[in-house]
Symmetry: C2
Subunit: 479 residues, 2 copies
């Protein structure tokens, strides 16, 4: 099984040809513009450690001077050079000789065709043990491994404007998730509904003046049902936020440059949670059928959210941008004419008379891979980007970006799965050139024949590509 999955994932990534690189990263000087492939400076070769992603602590000074690939690739110094070679673009996969990735996962990656200095994607695949923080009853529980929880974890982090945020997220995001789950260890293993309220902490006051409050209403006749599943979703959501806050705090000391899209999968207690913040994509291929497990967040898909924020908080536009959308840049000679536009409430278009402030640059512009927020960035969710400014301006873009993922849940216990049913995670480099159907067909063909005989070179992405293929049959022979 493992070799078949390994073969399928390598086949997907190997479609990297040599088209001109296309950038959807921030349009910033000196960051993502195409640099000639340079040999890595003093490449760091972390010790091979099976079953761990990029979770090995990285010394700050080292991280600054170098770049890294997931430790599970077990790259030698020579292998690291090859992985960093923009012209060769060799497909990297975990070695046959090493220990398997958790859950018999397949992984493959390829560096971009020169659009950034290093591969700005990062990846992580881990089994994480969660020790309960304390008993729900308020009494600190005896540390006892038997009462903890394990989750399987996969993360793809597509960096932009530098690799720092992606690397930090690949090392730490699953730890934030573990931290959030600590409160839930007992609750999730108890079939009764979660308690609405947990015991007080010592410093809690016991009363307050609430005379100004409106009276309880009939809509409170009962309390809401909160499911175990929604607690896990909430834990993942908060972990993303805390990861983003940590990047903000440490960005100066640790040079967390750039930002990253984050696509994360957590398997816990029979359910798969797919959390996506950015434009990576997850699909399930089940018996040939494609089940989308994520949506992409771009200036186009999040236009109305962005426009609403600009409308409600015009100070965030700095007098440089308008929250209205126009089908093309308005020219000053068109003042007084009527141009097509959309505001934050509209999905359709209408004509409006052009006024002076409509000549400002639109908050959202462009189409497809060229769509941009504030003429700068092509993704609207992710981690980091705390230093990102509008080109030739001091206006921060971060307020328009959201660190929150959308989480979709798939209950593994509700379906029978055959050995070829898989969950595919890929950064946008894959999906830019390969449709869901083509990915499913490739996976199916390779898994069923186990003879990759088609070089499949018809299309090529210039982007970094990283792909996980996760068999849905379960952890399999993972040891």
């Amino acid at each position: 099984m493992l070799n078949r999955v390994r073969s399928a994932v390598a086949h997907l990534v190997s479609s990297g040809g040599a088209p001109p690189p296309r950038s959807k990263s921030p349009d910033l000087p000196n960051t993502t513009s195409a640099l000639p492939a340079a040999p890595p400076e003093a490449p760091r070769s972390p010790p091979a450690r099976a079953g761990s992603g990029s979770a090995v602590p990285v010394k700050t000074a080292e991280a600054r001077a170098s770049f890294s690939r997931p430790t599970f690739l077990q790259l030698s110094p020579g292998g690291l050079r090859r992985a960093d070679d923009h012209s060769g673009r060799a497909v990297q996969s975990p070695p046959d000789t090493g220990r398997r990735l958790p859950w018999s996962t397949g992984y493959a990656e390829v560096i971009n065709a020169g659009k950034s200095r290093h591969n700005e994607d990062q990846a992580c695949c881990e089994v994480v043990y969660v020790e309960g923080r304390r008993s729900v009853s308020g009494v600190p529980r005896e540390p006892s491994r038997g009462q903890g929880l394990c989750f399987y974890y996969w993360g793809l982090f597509d960096g932009h404007a530098g690799g720092g945020a992606a690397e930090m997220a690949s090392r730490l995001l699953h730890r934030h998730i573990r931290e959030q789950l600590k409160d839930l260890v007992e609750i999730l293993q108890d079939p009764s509904p979660p308690p609405l309220c947990l015991p007080s902490t010592p410093e809690a006051p016991t009363s307050s003046d609430s005379s100004h409050l409106v009276a309880p209403q009939s809509c409170w006749s009962s309390h809401k049902e909160v499911t175990h599943e929604s607690l896990v979703v909430g834990a993942i959501e908060n972990a993303f936020q805390l990861m983003d806050e940590q990047m903000a705090r440490e960005r100066r000391g640790h040079q967390v440059e750039g930002g990253c899209c984050a696509l994360v999968v957590v398997y816990l207690l029979g359910k798969i949670y797919v959390a996506n913040a950015g434009d990576s994509r997850a699909i399930i291929v089940r018996n040939g059928e494609i089940i989308p497990m994520s949506r992409e967040f771009t200036p186009e898909t999040e236009r109305q959210r962005l426009q609403l924020l600009g409308f409600l908080k015009p100070e965030l536009l700095g007098g440089e941008f308008t929250h209205l959308e126009f089908p093309r840049r308005v020219q000053s000679k068109e003042l007084g004419q009527r141009m097509l536009y959309r505001d934050q409430n509209m999905t359709g278009w209408a004509y409006k008379k052009i006024e002076l402030e409509d000549l400002r640059f639109p908050l959202v512009c462009g189409e497809g891979k060229k769509a941009r927020v504030m003429a700068t960035i092509g993704v609207t969710r992710g981690l980091g980007d705390h230093n990102l400014k509008v080109c030739s301006s001091t206006l921060p873009i971060k307020p328009f970006l959201s660190c929150f993922p959308e989480v979709q849940v798939y209950d593994l216990t509700q379906y029978e799965h055959c050995p070829d049913d898989v969950l595919v995670l890929g950064t946008d480099g894959l999906w830019d050139v390969t449709s869901d159907c083509e990915v499913a067909a490739t996976v199916d063909r390779v898994l069923s024949t186990f003879e990759p005989n088609d070089p499949n070179n018809k299309l090529g992405s210039g982007d970094d590509i990283s792909v996980f293929i996760i068999p849905l049959g379960g952890p399999g022979t993972y040891s």
Copy 2:
């Protein structure tokens, strides 16, 4: 065909039994609380006019003192009394003897079981002619009927806290749509893409200082494609907004009390546009298959939009509400304990330590039909409600309500339709007690047998119910 549709729609509405009325209207004193059924005061019996809805101008004084039903019902004074009888709850349909409704539409309504004084639903069914405003070239065009456009129009307006808004919308919303479409008469009939810019008006200045603007970016390499369809959508969206603004302007002079959900269908140039703002519902039944054509907008489905607004504009909460959601009301004795909560970014739940301001009443509370914004109103989109205040407070609720509809488009020319394929529009009174499948089954059974033989009294809604059934085969024998 017409009699079959008429029979089907009456059958759907006749399920009104006598359960206790349930209110999802604003929880306000003296407005929607259950009053005993009173005989209508000097019922107004407008002259019967075939093919027109409530579009007959209503004198203000008359509207204040009375109530009205759609003119196409052609009710006599006695019929109007029966239509206003909360105990009898007779089903009202256009008479056999009158002229048909446009497009062989079926319509039926029944008054509520005493929850409000009169039936607060209103309806409209019209054929509307749109005269072009002027030529795209800027030269006023000769008035010429041949170059205009016709659209078919159906509207259901479910009023709350009074019938004024629903009645005004039923008389005027299609006129706002007509006004918005006037600019588009030539454009929509020209197969080439819509012009991005229309000629200037005389007073247009010709230049301005735009030196502060950022330079055009590569994302503007081309302009966006704008479709004819999206122009119609934009026209409908803007018509809703202008209708709402008119209600705000005229609420004092004309006593536009209350608000209303609006579900509107426009048939124009081969496409059906279903615009919904509220909790009415539209479904297409095609060959037994159900195609949802609307989504309901309630405090639950719009929770995150409402919370985001409260978070970004805390002044709208007046110190009385918190934008956070809790599964039940937080009690002051729970200060310092940790309670489940959701903020505007979350779909899952997590625990947070209770602080003083968490004791405020939550902006969104309750579940299902009991869900409320600011403990007051159970729908989050619609027209009117400009005077709506939080109970025992001066805090306005309107900022949280949206007048914008979601518009779904169905291309009639893309499918073959059999005579029993229909579009069903119903206010929430229908859908509270009848599922999509039951509606489809009833329509199918009645249309195919044309013998309504099942009184179908198993369920009963206490609410006003109004239903349109529109055959998809086309306007049929409308004359």
